[in-house]
Structure formats: structure tokens, C-alpha cells
């Protein structure tokens, strides 16, 4: 009888231990990060084509980054289907340093902030015609971060005016 009582006690402890383990597993699982998969082929292609990359901006089929090669940083547009950079005539110039970039959802337009000859400029690049144009900021200010919407017709820009940061919403033709 004593042996049976001990057996029941041991069984009860085992059951309690199992429930505790299950509870702990659930709690830890609830706080843990999700299972995400790196796109290995694409990441290898990105590593091969530059020394360093920063400031990524994604469109549906395109990625733009500021990429460094040979000590010089330039804007690079990458076709996500094959991981290869595509030509962007007129986008990068030797006397301009890109600061911030944003792609439209279709990858046709790219908004950027660049420093050139001591000035900080807000620019818009249109890929199909290879044209880079300066956008006026009214009232005047110094742009910093940009974000384009899907069709590239609405632009949000972080602008410094008199030492404070604002965000302007600009409608583009």
C-alpha cells in the first residue's frame, strides 16, 4: 500500500513537471522571434557586387542601396529576380554624395537627398527617361530622410527648418 502511494506521488510529480515544462515552452515560444528565411542566393549576389551596403529601400521587384566599392559610395539599383545591378544613367555623379534614398513601389521613380558643392538637395530620378531633377522645398529647409509611395506621386520628406525637424508631404506630377 505504501509502495502504491509512493508510486502515485511520483506519477503526480512527473505529471506536474510535464505541465510546467509545457507552460514554460509555450511562454518562451510566445516571446521568441519567428522563423524567417534569408534569401541565400540573393544575399550572396549582393555581397559579391559591393564592399559594403547601407540604407536599403525595397520596391516590388527592385532593391536600391547605397553601395561602396573602391572607397566610393553610389546608389545601386538591383533587379531582385537575378540579384544583378542595372544601369541607372544620370543618377550618380562624381561630385554628389547620396544621403538618403527611397524607391516607388514599381521601381520607376527614386527620391534622394544628396550633398553637392556644400548644399543638400532633394532630387527625383525617373528611370525610364534617365532624368534626375531637383525638387524645390518651400518654405526652404534642409532635407534628410525621404519616403516615396507606391506610384511615386507622393513623397514624405524629413526637413530641418530653424533647427527643428518637420515632415512635409509633397505631391509630384
Amino acid at each position: 500500500m505504501i509502495a502504491q502511494s509512493r508510486k502515485e506521488k511520483t506519477g503526480g510529480r512527473t505529471s506536474l513537471l510535464l505541465w510546467n515544462s509545457l507552460l514554460l515552452f509555450t511562454l518562451v515560444g510566445g516571446c521568441s522571434t519567428e522563423d524567417i528565411r534569408p534569401l541565400q542566393n540573393l544575399n550572396s549576389a549582393l555581397d559579391r557586387s559591393s564592399d559594403a551596403r547601407r540604407d536599403p529601400t525595397l520596391a516590388q521587384e527592385w532593391l536600391a542601396t547605397l553601395s561602396s566599392r573602391g572607397g566610393r559610395e553610389r546608389i545601386e539599383l538591383i533587379n531582385l529576380r537575378n540579384g544583378t545591378p542595372v544601369p541607372t544613367p544620370g543618377l550618380n555623379s562624381a561630385d554628389a554624395q547620396p544621403v538618403s534614398i527611397s524607391l516607388s513601389g514599381d521601381g520607376e521613380r527614386l527620391a534622394l537627398v544628396q550633398q553637392r558643392e556644400g548644399r543638400t538637395e532633394l532630387m527625383l530620378y525617373r528611370r525610364s527617361i534617365g532624368a534626375l531633377q531637383r525638387l524645390d522645398i518651400n518654405p526652404p529647409g534642409v532635407p534628410r530622410q525621404v519616403s516615396l509611395n507606391g506610384d511615386g506621386r507622393t513623397l514624405a520628406v524629413q526637413i530641418s527648418r530653424s533647427g527643428r525637424w518637420d515632415v512635409d508631404i509633397i505631391r509630384l506630377p
Binding site: T33, E34, L39, R53, R54, L58, A59, Q133, N138, G150
Partner: protein, 184 residues
Amino acid sequence: MRRLPPIARVAEYSLIAATVSLLMLGCSPNARRAPGASVDRQQQDPAISGNGNILAVIVEQRGRPTVELRDLRSGQRLPLRHLNRQQPHSSPSLSWNGRYLAVITQRGNRRMALVEDRVTGRAHPLRPPGNRDPVRVSLAPDGQRMAIQVSDRGRWRVEMLDLSSVLEPDRPGGLRVTTPQEGP
């Protein structure tokens, strides 16, 4: 005066229209201040949704950089379920309809990317492979991929992640597949 053939006239009109369009673009974009700004309230690091209706910005809340969401049509602030803590926040990014908001948060002494699903109310914490701290993130318009900038042995790298097993697509038109989940 000699009349131009019809095709040449069409080409001429197209050229004039393109020139006027370029001049307008260069001179006078239509700008306005984003809603939610005030004298003692600065806004930084904007991210606009693909449809252009929702804006995420970083504002100071009790001295802590915090992401805030606004409807650009009404100017109203939109509620966020999981992003009232884990500051400082940085680098917000929105999907097409603004269903998903990705942002870098702080958990303990580590930086971590978090995606809030505004339809189901779920939070998806994402850590880059190799357990590196994220610096900037960009979400694809449909929410199926993410680009993460990390520091790797003293140099910046960009890693592409596949989120299709975690998030359902947020495409133009805003078709919702799942039923909203009321509980956490």
C-alpha cells in the same frame, strides 16, 4: 506656311507636353506639412504606405523616440497595439495598404525588428540571421520580403529575408484573407 503631317504634329505636341511637365516638376511641387506637427513636437524618419494614405513617423514621447501612425486623409492618429513600449524605435516601413508596420525596437540591450499586423493585431518579432542587430529595415510593398541593414565585422551589409511564411500578402486593393483576431 507649310502644314506639318499629322504624325509630326502629334510628336510636336508630345514634346511640348513633356517639357511643360518637366518644368512643373522642377519648379512647383505641391507641398504641405504632415499632420501631427506642433511647435514642441518634432517628426523624423517618415515612411509612407504604398497607397499614400498612411504615414509613419518617429516622435519623442516622454523623451523616448516612438513610432506614430497617421491617416493622411483625415489627419487622425491610428492606434498601434504593440508599439507603445520597447523604445527607442527607428526606421519605420509600411506595406502597400499600411497593414504591416515594420520598425526597429529595443528588447533588453538588443535591437530587433518587429512587424505589427494592424489587421490581426499580431506582433512578429524578427531577428536577422547570425543574431546581428538591425540598423535599418525596408519592407516590400506586399510585405513578403524585407531588406535589413546590419553591421558585420565592421562593415554594413544588406540581407534580404523571405517573410512569405510569416505574413500574408498586402497587395493593392487591400484584400484581406484572414479573419481579424480580437485576442492578443
